[in-house]
């Protein structure tokens, strides 16, 4: 019998030999140690605030008061008895508040980036912000929705941190580990004044903005806010009054952005079948073949009025006169036929590398969308730059305002021109990613990517070429996927570059450079 069991034992050892644990990039990030405190960031130009003192922050209590000493004792009590989970929490959040909340946003976008299933009668239900947990859950975080969510949160974080930096410099109350050297700091020490807490400012902003953007995920978000604040206390980096003042400031600033969001016309962007018919008729009147949904049952085009949402970096007149791309090749022209044939040929002759590129940039359902992908790219590089929190927020705001404006510019063109997708014009064309349910011209990936690459290349000039190469690859990936023509991609890159240029124009005048 013995010889029967030897192979069983051997195979059990073999089967369990290889470790399956994943090494995830974002969990390897070091603690944030800013290269510069940016102590004068209180003078940087805010986006919506009239100035850094629009929402006053009261002077902190003195570090000699019994109240402050009680708050220091709260830290000491925590630190006396730390669990492994609590230490992990400190390490996780020490990588940076703007970074971590950006990651959390990306997760929520991916979770909600799934198109609703049809009703029994072949129509489609529309997610309802007032009943977010009923199916279909609110929101459907598609690329335009996601670009707007990332932009509002980043912009609000930036304004709130500019205000926070103003008061930090004004009050100069040091971190508890500096006030009381008996408190060990579990993260790298900083000379940045800790009142109001920049971490709590960010948590306060996001908590408030998310009530608007992801109203069905409040329990998850509140849990993260509590963990974040706790991590700062445990680390010895903030006392409770630092956190309270920061969170309160963050919430107030966020309200200003919530007000803008409620009036930015995104609420009407979903459109209606009557509006879609009008776009279709306009297209037919121009003697062009209109876009038709290739889904079964036919789904109304995604966010057909997103092109009318309020932009950040230029006004709507500029958008129409200066940025809107020229009309695509006529559907009856030889150029159009040639471009269609190019995609048909590509779809039947993809190389392994082209297919890899199509999948790498697919950013389809259940992903953080192309703007989320560029946030990931930016975050991975920003980590290496050792930006202060306020500079992180400023750079993320520039990136995400550019990408939201890119979405608006692109969606404007898509519905103004209402150009059909390659598989509509030749049903033998099969795709290697899901066919997006909106008109073809211009390519969203190309517009987002060029806008992102342009502003990121300004923020980290040594990477400018790399970013532009990535944008071009993202753009080409849509041709490899057989869902876009060459003109869609080239003109998308051009308008994205223009949008990125407006972000640079803001960057060089905001006082941060």
């Amino acid at each position: 019998m013995k010889k029967i069991f030897i192979p069983i034992i051997l195979s059990t050892v073999l089967l369990n030999a290889c470790n399956k644990d994943l090494v995830e990039t974002n969990l390897q990030y070091p603690s944030l140690q800013p290269a510069s405190l940016d102590i004068n960031a209180g003078t940087w130009k805010p986006i919506l605030l009239t100035g850094p003192t629009e929402f006053p922050v009261a002077a902190p209590i003195a570090t000699t008061t019994p109240d402050y000493i009680a708050q220091v004792n709260e830290i000491k009590t925590w630190q006396a008895n730390l669990s492994k989970e609590e230490k992990n929490l400190v390490n996780y959040w020490s990588a940076g508040a703007v970074l971590r909340w950006n990651e959390i946003m990306r997760q929520l976008v991916a979770k909600h980036n799934i198109p609703p299933y049809q009703n029994a009668d072949g129509t489609y239900p529309i997610p309802n912000a007032n009943n977010p947990l009923a199916y279909p859950q609110f929101p459907f975080a598609n690329p335009p929705y996601a670009s707007r969510a990332y932009a509002y949160v980043a912009a609000a974080e930036y304004d709130a941190l500019v205000a926070a930096w103003y008061y930090k410099k004004l009050y100069t109350r040091l971190a508890p580990y500096k006030v009381d050297p008996t408190i060990p700091s579990l993260i790298p020490q900083s000379d940045l004044p800790s009142y109001p807490s920049e971490d709590a400012v960010v948590a306060g902003v996001v908590g408030e903005m998310m009530k608007l953007l992801f109203p069905g995920d409040q329990d998850f978000i509140q849990q993260k806010i509590e963990e974040h604040k706790k991590a700062r206390l445990i680390a010895g980096a903030n006392v409770r009054s630092d956190l309270d003042a920061g969170e309160a400031l963050g919430k107030l600033v966020a309200q200003k952005f919530v007000t803008r969001a409620r009036g930015d016309r995104a609420g009407a962007a979903v459109g209606s079948l009557a509006i879609q018919t009008q776009f279709e008729q306009d297209c037919i009147t121009r003697n062009e073949i209109p876009w038709i949904s290739q889904e079964s049952p036919k789904r109304p085009g995604m966010l057909m009025l997103f092109g009318r949402v309020k932009t950040w970096l230029f006004d709507s007149v500029t958008m129409v006169t200066t940025i809107r791309p020229p009309a695509p090749p006529s559907t009856s022209s030889q150029k159009f036929k040639d471009e269609l044939e190019e995609i048909r040929h590509l779809s039947t002759s993809l190389t392994t590398e082209q297919r890899r590129i199509a999948h790498f940039w697919a950013d389809g359902i259940s992903t953080p969308t192309p703007p989320g992908h560029w946030n990931q790219i930016a975050a991975e590089d920003f980590v290496k730059q050792n930006f202060s929190e306020v500079r992180w927020a400023r750079n993320m705001a520039l990136l995400n305002m550019a990408m939201m404006d890119a979405a608006i510019v692109c969606w404007d063109a898509k519905y103004v021109y209402f150009n059909p997708r390659p598989p509509q014009m030749n049903n033998t064309i099969k795709t290697v990613t899901g066919l997006p349910n909106f008109p073809s011209y211009t390519s969203g990936h190309s517009t987002f990517s060029a806008a992102a690459a342009t502003i990121l290349g300004h923020i980290i000039p040594s990477n400018a070429t790399k970013y532009m190469d990535m944008a071009k690859e993202a753009s080409l990936s849509r041709m490899y996927a057989a869902i876009h023509y060459r003109s869609d991609c080239e003109k998308g890159l051009e308008s994205g570059n223009k949008v990125g240029g407006y972000a640079i124009a803001r960057a060089i005048t905001d006082g941060a450079e």
Binding site: I114, Y135, P368
Partner: protein, 310 residues
Amino acid sequence: MRFAIASFFIMMSITSAAQTDIDGIMMEKNALCIGPMFGYSSWKNYWEGTLKRENLNLGTVSTQMYSVMGNYGITKKLNVLFGLPYVKTKASAGQLNGQEGVQDLSLWVKWKPMTAKLASGRLSYILIGGFSCPVSDYTADFLPMSIGLESKNLSMRAMLDYQRGSWFATVSGTYVRRSNIKLDRNSYYTTEMHYTNEVKMPDAVAANIRAGWRDKGLIAEAVFDGWNTLGGFDITRNNMPFPSNNMDMKRIGFNFKYDMPFYRQLSLTGNVMTTISGRNVGQATGFNAGIFYVIDFTKKKKTDSKGDKK
């Protein structure tokens, strides 16, 4: 043999009744049984988590398989087996491109250490160790059109086979250790975001019960099998499937093998299988058919061994 005959996403055996990794039959020493097989399966409905649905943007998803498989007897008690399929997928509706290519090479060692008489029948105990790995660069991250799941698999199977007269029954249980796989992208969402290109693939267990008639010229058997992924997550509402989903299924089917009466090196095999329940898999029904030929490398026995090889 175990092929991704695309019972949606999963590598499951659509087994022919020839000597395989899933039955209780051994090849004679120095004999090689080898041949081509063709398989086809399709599904229109699938389980999104536990919810059964159709998808008008996929229509019917079908999989064709062309394979070569073989079984060589090192001794009568120790066999090695291999299988190599070429797989092609297609959706009848929507725009998604099918995939095609050589899928995974499978190798097994099959060992029968023990046979005992039991109640005027014969009971055999068999151990089968298997390994499979992709041999082309197909992508698993394009379900349901992917031709496979990309993981390297190690499997360990214990089997009992009982034969009394021409009637028999075989039961087996398998543990499948699956390696992580690598995607073409560097982040993905399961129930949370992961920032890596590597996906942790849950292991799986499988059970197989088969019973019927088995004599020298004919095998005819009914088959039940089950596959249970140990972990993984459900497809969320209207989402696409993902390689590390919690894929489970139960199937029933029928197999036969028939030796040509006047040329017994040659045999025909056939199989039909249908899925009776599942989770995160397609409700696939399929068939396969093969022709197998036995080559005897033993020099001394020239005339009297043909009928005993299978």
